[in-house]
């Protein structure tokens, strides 16, 4: 990828808008793949975390080991995980699934605890009543426990999706197409003099993306929990 450095005046950090307009279709492509990489692993991670969290809640003795293992997973530096995923799973280095898989691991690590704690937030007498009224275990999970756990899970999803936006950027440094590449470009163009516009653009788009995704989770939570806004009259 060749990017021609513009004249000296436009190297001011504030010229990121011009930089964006000059490379619009390319930058939008980066934004789109960044979005995709931020969202899909969280959704897949949640789908995996739901049964794991349920197990951790249902069989209390599994809670400590599950939380320790996922806690350790979360502390592995992202760049190391990106590199480790292909050999462990027998993929090519630079397989397109390498980064999504690593990000899914992080999301699972974060969300298992959230799901287990969300399920623990369901009042005991509510679960008892559901059982006594004749809900089967799966019916009870999807119709009673999960809906009531939504606020706690949504709070965890906000953290997961926002932290994913920043971890995805790191994947740009190993050559994946996303907003992280704007930083690489910035560094490449910074010889001999510092050239800030792509770096600032990358930061601005990452923050905007994080804010938008976070708001979407908040909105989704509101739509799913009308009962939370009902207060004693």
């Amino acid at each position: 990828m060749t990017v021609l450095a513009a004249d000296g005046a436009s190297s001011s950090p504030l010229h990121f808008v011009e930089y964006f307009l000059d490379h619009r279709s390319e930058d939008l492509g980066l934004l789109w793949s960044h979005t995709w990489l931020s969202v899909v692993p969280v959704i897949v991670g949640l789908l995996i975390a739901l049964p794991l969290g349920w197990v951790a809640r249902r069989h209390r003795w599994t809670y400590p080991p599950i939380m320790s293992i996922t806690g350790v997973l979360y502390t592995i530096p992202s760049i190391a995980l990106f590199v480790l995923v292909p050999p462990i799973l027998g993929l090519d280095t630079l397989d397109p699934l390498q980064v999504p898989i690593a990000l899914t691991v992080y999301s699972v690590a974060l969300l298992v605890r959230v799901v287990a704690d969300g399920l623990a937030s369901v009042p005991d007498e509510t679960v008892q009543a559901a059982t006594a009224l004749g809900f089967r275990p799966l019916e009870r999970f999807f119709k009673v426990e999960l809906p009531i756990a939504v606020p706690v899970i949504a709070a965890g999803l906000r953290v997961a999706v926002v932290s994913n936006v920043s971890i995805v950027a790191v994947a740009g440094t190993i050559g994946l197409s996303n907003l992280g590449q704007l930083f690489t470009q910035g560094f490449q163009l910074s010889t001999p003099d510092a050239y800030y516009p792509p770096i600032v653009l990358g930061i601005v788009l990452c923050v905007l993306l994080a804010v938008v995704l976070d708001s979407l989770v908040v909105l989704l939570n509101r739509l799913l929990t009308p009962w939370r806004r009902a207060v004693a009259t």
């Binding site: 009543a129 006594a132 004749g134 004693a232």
Partner: protein
């Protein structure tokens, strides 16, 4: 009918929660399980719908062995009410009530319209239907809990201390309404409480359990109070059981003497041969006693502020306990007797009630 056939619950650590229980809860009646904590009353209740599985023995629902049914199907046939109602916070009141019909696959519209009727039946206004449980008081939530248990019209209801988490005034209201409801519905009910007063008030039959899950005595409330089978039951039913037993004794129709009255709003009468004068409203419902010794300005009328309202009322067919209480609580010493409609019949004195108590036939031996 629910029949416990030598039912035992023993936990792996050796604790025996229920020990060889033999008990029949008759159809259409309220059977109350009562006892101190640790007596296995809740365990016994929860074995009926298999929230807890018995270690040995059989629980029969009519002529079916409950152990032979799928648990979720068994539970959908049994109404269940618990202490804090256990409503679903994420569902509206009407959908809470319609829970079991929804589970049974009843058409949503029909299930909701049945639920609306039940809400009315338990004394909740229709506009509560769209609210969420958090918007209701504890007593209101408990009514919803009862409506939810009744929604699929189960023949059997299990109630686990349903009224013990609300304040005493609301509790009494809920108990009275529950008895009225049961008169209409005639469900087979097993009711757990630690409160002996609640047990004798609600139960057609009361089973007293002692710690370790032993059944100490099964009897009607009157028999339990008059003839506790041993020292434990005697101690548990309480010291004033003689007085409470009067709650189950009536004297047919109480004979009364007529009582002079004054209408509320009328001019204050002057000069009376008695210190107390009974005030009644337009429908002749007693309002309170007027103290004739108190000086009142000339031309004053009988107003609420002048009335002593401490006295309880007894209906003509009421119990001797209620009659005695009406006398003891009345400032004039005369107990006020009313008819079923609440209109004044006359008064009775404590001495007369005592005569009735003494003339009472001894309880037949069983």
């Amino acid at each position: 009918m629910i029949r416990f056939d030598s039912v035992t619950k023993r936990y792996p650590d050796g604790t025996v929660a229920v020990d060889d229980l033999e008990l029949v809860a008759a159809s259409g009646q309220i059977t109350v399980l009562v006892g101190p904590s640790g007596c296995g009353k809740t365990t016994s209740l929860r074995m009926v719908n298999r929230m807890i599985e018995p270690t040995s023995g059989t629980i029969w629902l009519d002529d079916e062995d409950t152990a032979s049914m799928a648990t979720h199907e068994l539970r959908r046939r049994i109404g269940y009410v618990i202490q804090h109602a256990g409503l679903f916070p994420h569902k509206t009141i009407v959908d809470n009530v319609a829970t079991v019909p929804f589970l049974l696959g009843t058409d949503k519209k029909r299930a909701r319209s049945t639920a609306m009727e039940l809400l009315e039946r338990v004394g909740l206004p229709a506009h509560f239907a769209k609210r969420y449980p958090a918007q209701l008081s504890g007593g209101q939530q408990q009514r919803v809990g009862v409506a939810r248990a009744l929604a699929a019209d189960p023949p059997v209801m299990l109630m686990d201390e349903p009224f013990s988490a609300v304040d005493p005034v609301v509790r009494e209201q809920l108990q009275d309404e529950f008895l009225r409801l049961q008169q209409d519905l005639g469900k087979t009910i097993v009711f757990v409480t630690h409160d002996i007063d609640e047990a004798v008030k609600l139960g057609d039959q009361v089973a007293v359990l002692r710690v370790g899950g032993h059944l100490a005595q099964v009897a009607t409330p009157a028999e339990l109070l008059s003839r506790p089978v041993d020292a434990f039951v005697a101690g548990f039913v309480g010291r004033d059981r003689g007085y409470r037993a009067l709650g189950f004794a009536t004297a047919g129709t109480l004979s009364t003497r007529s009582e002079p009255t004054v209408a509320t709003g009328a001019p204050l009468p002057t000069g009376s041969d008695d210190d107390w004068l009974l005030a009644v409203d337009g429908a002749r419902a007693p309002q309170g006693w007027l103290d004739m010794r108190a000086s009142a300005p000339a031309g004053a009328t009988v107003t609420d502020g002048l009335l002593h309202r401490g006295g309880t009322l007894v209906t003509q067919g009421g119990s001797l306990r209620a009659a005695l209480d009406a006398c003891l609580s009345s400032p004039s010493g005369r107990g006020v007797v009313v008819d079923e409609g609440g209109a004044l019949v006359g008064t009775i004195t404590a001495a007369e009630v005592l005569e009735l108590i003494e003339a009472r036939e001894p309880e037949p031996r069983t």
